[in-house]
Symmetry: D2
Subunit: 341 residues, 4 copies
């Protein structure tokens, strides 16, 4: 719950943790602010932005029109951080690298949305924030490296293949992402007139998320080589990852399906779809959900996942991690029963 000055509404709640956001002017940060503002046990603290410090949030982010406050200047966190507070880094890797270690030393809990600490997260003192893999470690974790959107979509689609790891000889991941994945810093390539009516592959020489995928697949025993091709599609948010696992011998379809059912049977946030239904980006947009289709054809298992790059791929997942870290119900602020068009 939120009682920030200038915010409309707000209800009394006995205990609530304060969450500061550093790098608060980007797309993932906006979504995070939206989610924390509706969270029954969290309240918003500093909203630091070096690029937009002092400018009214309502001018900069239409979706946050109701927030009658301005972005806070760097230093606000420093001045207001109190025991028990959590800090979420929603800016770039450099920002996180420069500030996280000192914060941890001061005892703050930290969730980092950048890729600064994801590789060798454990060695960095962080837990890799994918609940389906590290739920126990995330409870009471003090430092969480929130996964990238591409890795999240890919790992949710491929991890249930771990029991078949020995038979997988090649992985091909063809991913399609909404444009917010590229951030809010202006760049010609992300202008409306460049993105609309186009679909484009990028990172053909290698994408920075590839190592993260390989690391986490490897940790689950899946060591097959990976070809990863990200694309930008003209949507604002959402992502589809078509993952193809090429086997050395034809897998048994029922065994594959059974493994996915074991993985996601009771899951609140992952929907394994009936065989005939395709994942829907619209059906997960604005939520923390993932939808997964799996099917087999000959020696190929095709697993397609849809997530919201700003939801399960960033801010929603961060809130899930906050919930786990703070011992709150996992669904707090993530309990929508429907997406919206």
């Amino acid at each position: 719950m939120s009682t920030i000055p200038g915010a409309v509404g707000g209800h009394a709640a006995p205990i609530s943790k304060r969450v500061h956001v550093v790098g608060a002017a980007g797309y993932a940060a906006s979504e995070l602010i939206r989610l924390i503002a509706r969270h029954p046990s969290l309240e918003l603290g500093a909203l630091e932005s070096s690029s937009h410090a002092g400018s009214p949030i309502a001018d900069h982010v239409p979706a946050l029109r109701r927030f009658e406050r301005a972005f806070d200047p760097p230093g606000t966190l420093e001045a207001t951080l109190a025991a028990g507070d959590v800090v979420v880094f929603a800016g770039g890797a450099e920002l996180a690298r420069a500030n996280v270690p000192a914060l941890l030393e001061r005892g703050a809990r930290v969730v980092d949305l950048s890729d600064a600490f994801r590789l060798a997260a454990h060695a960095n003192g962080a837990v890799y924030g994918l609940a389906e893999r590290y739920r126990d470690a995330l409870r009471d974790a003090r430092f969480v490296a929130n996964p990238g959107c591409y890795p999240t979509a890919t790992l949710l689609a491929l991890l249930p293949l771990a029991p078949f790891a020995n038979d997988i000889v090649q992985l091909v991941v063809d991913a399609k992402s909404g444009v917010t994945g590229a951030g809010r810093t202006p760049a010609t390539a992300n202008l409306f007139a460049e993105v609309a009516e186009d679909v484009r592959a990028y990172g053909l020489g290698g994408h920075r998320h590839e190592a993260e995928i390989v690391q986490e697949l490897g940790a689950a025993g899946i060591d097959a080589p990976l070809v990863f091709t990200p694309h930008v599609v003209p949507i604002r948010r959402g992502m589809l990852a078509d993952c193809y696992a090429i086997f050395s011998r034809e897998p048994r379809g029922d065994a594959v399906r059974a493994s996915y059912e074991r993985a996601y049977g009771g899951s609140r946030f992952v929907r394994l779809l009936p065989p005939g239904r395709a994942p829907s980006v619209v059906g997960v947009a604005g939520t923390n959900d993932a939808e997964i289709h799996v099917s087999c054809k000959g020696r190929v298992v095709r697993a397609i996942s849809a997530i919201d790059n700003l939801g399960r791929g960033a801010a929603g997942n961060a809130v899930l991690n906050l919930n786990l870290m703070l011992g709150l119900p996992e669904e707090s602020a993530l309990d929508d029963r429907a997406a919206r068009l």
Copy 2:
């Protein structure tokens, strides 16, 4: 709150009213279902659709993937209607005309989203469901004619000019609507390939919403002739109404502004913007909010309003009316503190 069979989640609540939806497969109905499902004091009853009866909601409406039930066939309402239930008609005018009178006779409360009963609403036994005008009558109303999206946007923009009615000689309303305003029935004109990269005026010979606007402006004493031009723009939801009131003599800008401040100063759902800020469709999408800009230039007052045609223009407004009719807090299920991208 919602405890429909097959729905995921749901919490216990002491008292809740059941809301049936007739014509449940359209866009406004989907939004209504989303809002009722999150409502603390309402639960979903029959979801009737003659066109999609028996087909899983999840197949038809990606945003409602979590609803593990099928659309109900016609007759379900009849079979399940109980004392105290409310029925929302979200299909066309014909559907409402054929069914509403009998339901009212049986004592059901009804909200009709079609334009069947909006003209001469009072004579039809209905209250015209615009809270800013008829809040008192809406409390305990048994039959509400929910306004059209264009009229809602236009009336919110123009009604505060009532004190100046005698000086207004002409009204020009140039409105831009998202495509969901045209409904979900397939038509070539609404195909993606026809709508994308286009902007088009329509109804150049006269639009059915015009009489509704004229009626309600007239009821407020604004009798100036109206030229109304609706447009389709390539967005899914949301609407902008640019309203130009031409005066016979230059109005005093501060008096005009003051009237808008009186009208909307304490409003939960209407934001009068500071002079330099333009209304944002994105800032109201998915909410029940309206944003209004007003400015004067010479003998013209320009009032621009933004609403979500599916939110304040249909389903959100219907929930507001349900809240009023049932004596619930006005903000129930409409209490988002932020929109989402």
Copy 3:
């Protein structure tokens, strides 16, 4: 060149062939009409549409506003067909199956854009209309089965791998198509409000274009099994086919590149891109061009092609085939030096 009654402009030309279009109201047909209208040696004949017969083209197809004529009723072709005329079928397979044989018997030349005769084209008396494979047979062909858009994009990307066919163990094609690929017949799934902000896989149980791809790859000696996943992306026209060939042993990158250079070195209509550049849908939209990227990683060759599904994937390719069949310069009407945004 075109001298149809009611058409604006038109220049005298000594000899020109008349092209009739059957099924003239769809998207590919509109593009075909546009191309023929600018062709120096072709003129438009009957424009038959059973669904829109008699209705002004300008009302139905904004892009053809200048064409001051109506769609012709069925039977017009029959009444006006003359020796030397060509007939293009741009409607569905059924239309072609019902009418093509009799036309061929009467001596007309035919290009069929449907998939009625593509499988076993030769047995059907047709030439499969992919110039890169069958250029010689297409010269003076009397009946051409124009390839599907997905097969065209896929074959242009994969055919240069024929020399390595023995080493390929699996093919994965992940294709993304603009919405016009689904035709102009109204369907809920193709409404703007369903397509915008979404990306979706379809045909997960098998797509009708798959057999066509397999047939033509096989004819080139590439027999590896194929997994083909088509997607709809929210663009009007254009297509990207990401083709992954998994090899049994690591191929030599320079040999692969060399094969593509041999295939497309002198091509007017296929651009093999420098290694760092990704294919651009915008760069081929409205043209007959294809752009191809090829790169190797381990045992995977990734070839990505971009075409316009209405251009090289339908109407542009049909004009290329007309040019070949009629002994005209290949570039006639296809000689744009630039695409447009």
Copy 4:
């Protein structure tokens, strides 16, 4: 015709004028390059860009993939300008102001797409480049100030009302523009994720194009005050201007219609639509055409025009002016018989 080094294609032509483009990396410049490259009597000279000098055009502008040259550095024009050449300024007003006078002094012919010289064009030694008003002056003009896109759309819609000027008491223009109108320089407001699913008014305090509209309406005797509201809509190119003229007494509809028919009856580039048909942005996109609807209701004349902001609103109009200045057929390079989807 074009024989630039590295360009594909090209035919021999006896005489051709060379056109240099300064500020060649923007959207209007790309469209201009496309048009000149297909022009039978013009060829491309220097393509200067200070921001992109030296970078391959194909990397920067997908639509110009076939142009195998790089943007030229500042100074190229200076080094290559020859007698008879024409220079088009497609960058900002500052660029034009700094360079045009010296070029004119050297005898070059100039077309300026910026708004540097449009106000008091005549005093600046320029002809205001709207053929419908100044066709005679444009023939053999040495310096043309190409009109803005908003003024072009507005003037084409309103100028035929000049005979009724005395009766017009107020003008309201509500315009909707594609995003390319804002140029190609990166800005947060023009990012895809900001523009998609939104419609927004801007310039509410006054737009720089307003004075230009007022000047040219005034020159035609239409002196009524103007309220002008521009909007951005999520399309790449194209523009709709809804123009409302409020009369002091009800005009005769047939007299109004007759005036529009006189103005545009024989026009190659302006289509006056039959009363029931609405202007189509798609129908003019990529062309130099305008479509105009006019209707009367009470004391209001509503004239709606559609143009392509990059076509008739910039590059297409510039080519028309070049054709006039150089004594070429008006339709050269502007002779498309169809638009494209």
